[in-house]
Symmetry: C2
Subunit: 301 residues, 2 copies
């Protein structure tokens, strides 16, 4: 049993098909199949069983896959200790970031990390449920969630909560309420609304406000990009929801805290456990923590 075989199992557990594993490891499906069979022979155990036109891990296979994560984590941790001798922290790191979360953290991160670490950023605007999938193909994922607790499908990932960011009500500077310090659902009930498409997380907050006020908004637009929301709010077409730290200060838009409804999202960094042990990744995580601390006090954990 070698490390190469273990990563095979680990990938297969995550990706579910030999072809996907082969793609991820840049080899032929045939090679994956052969190595798997060889491993089965040496162990004397069936690690996969056919199901439909694919395969799935048997129980010993899954056992070995979870063990592979432990082993990989220890190996990465050992390699990290060697990094001090290899000219300090250096290397490349692939980061996938939710744009609305990255807009504030990424510039700070790049500034904090020296030229020694090359950060390759990929922006992905995906649903909460897809962050775990992103973690398979990137070293670090910067995402968010609406609930205070980590999602259940992040269970096998290292989760570092960076920022608890309140969601504010954005309204035009010219609006009568703009002078207030905060607003309540009753204050803004029935207003024109620049929303997000249905099912998007911010839309759940709109529903909560409407439920609290007992009166729906008049939805004039639904769009994904927060900067568009901001622009339309500024132009006076209605109000909307914008995250407090990730929205650049602007004279035309006021952000007011919302009272009476629990708001806020948690921005966190995700990484596969064995990846999180790598020296560069640990360094980047520390840097991210520091960046977040400069923006707002750290959330619990």
């Amino acid at each position: 049993m070698e490390l190469r075989d273990l990563v095979l199992l680990r990938e297969l557990d995550e990706r579910g098909s030999l072809t996907a594993v082969a793609r991820a490891l840049s080899v032929t499906p045939s090679a994956v199949s052969q190595r798997l069979r060889a491993l089965e022979r040496t162990l004397g155990l069936p690690l996969t069983e056919p199901v439909g036109r694919g395969v799935r891990l048997t129980e010993p296979g899954r056992l070995l896959a979870t063990g592979a994560v432990e082993v990989a984590a220890v190996v990465a941790s050992v390699e990290a200790r060697l990094a001090a001798f290899q000219g300090g922290i250096a290397g490349r790191i692939d980061v996938a970031a939710l744009p609305s979360a990255g807009v504030v953290l990424l510039p700070a991160l790049l500034g904090r990390l020296g030229a020694e670490v090359e950060v390759r950023v990929h922006d992905h605007d995906v649903a909460e449920a897809d962050y775990a999938a992103l973690a398979r193909d990137h070293d670090l994922v910067i995402g968010h969630r609406m609930s205070p607790e980590p999602r259940r499908d992040w269970q096998h990932l290292r989760v570092v909560d960076l920022l608890r960011e309140p969601l504010d009500i954005a309204l035009p500077a010219a609006h009568p309420l703009a002078a207030r310090e905060a607003v309540t659902p009753a204050d803004i009930a029935g207003e024109r609304w620049i929303g997000v498409p249905e099912g998007y997380p911010f839309d759940d907050l709109r529903l909560a406000i409407e439920a609290a006020a007992g009166e729906p908004f008049r939805i004039v637009q639904r769009m994904r990009d927060n900067r568009l929301v901001e622009a339309l709010v500024e132009a006076g077409f209605g109000m909307g929801i914008l995250p407090r730290f990730s929205t650049r200060p602007s004279t035309g838009v006021r952000l007011l805290p919302l009272r009476g409804v629990a708001t806020g999202r948690v921005i966190s960094a995700l990484a596969r456990p064995e990846v999180a042990e790598r020296a560069v990744v640990r360094h980047a995580l520390e840097a991210l923590r520091a960046c977040a601390a400069e923006i707002a006090p750290a959330p619990r954990r």
Copy 2:
């Protein structure tokens, strides 16, 4: 970096020379040298440096060697979890035993372990300081120590204390003191003595008794094998020291507890940490614990 390379480092750390590593792994020194250099190239770090006509590990090399133990332990633990699917605990295990400790534990161990595990026993009567070396070449070492605390050179070994065995004064059944329940140094001062060679652990106890009594024994013989000591005691040539549990009951010899001087040895099992994680070895350790518990209540830890 592969597992094969890590065991290389681990062995080199323990054995100190490429040739010794090569012998232990049944390969040519040339092969070891080549793989080491290849690893150095991929890591970009010197792992060994020449010293005299041999080599020694550099600091990163030693770091990697200690990391290799951690990795090997996790790998072994993962493999152990697989054992349940591989037809339960089975396999071969090499045990090195101090004869005077093995005489009571080994038969019990062999009886307790089923036919599934093949136990290969090697008896070695070596000094306390050499048990660590034995652990390099055997899965399990059954040894003893005179002090209650584990030796410092066992620091990197898994130590399982099995038995705290008192050392008794053996005297002929015909001796006037044989009817007593126990003896003190003063009782036996000046007697004829069947001892062990100088420097042997039991000899330190003799010195302690003499110091307590203020009078030396008359040493008539010095021998290593406890059965010879027993035979000479039985024949009436003097008294001596014998371990309580490891001495078979005999009508001609009485074993009396010694009051006033701290006696006793601790019999323990030693294994390299990564070996101790293996399923068979863990099973054997549990069996040894059970055997020891049948003989006497377990010592602390």
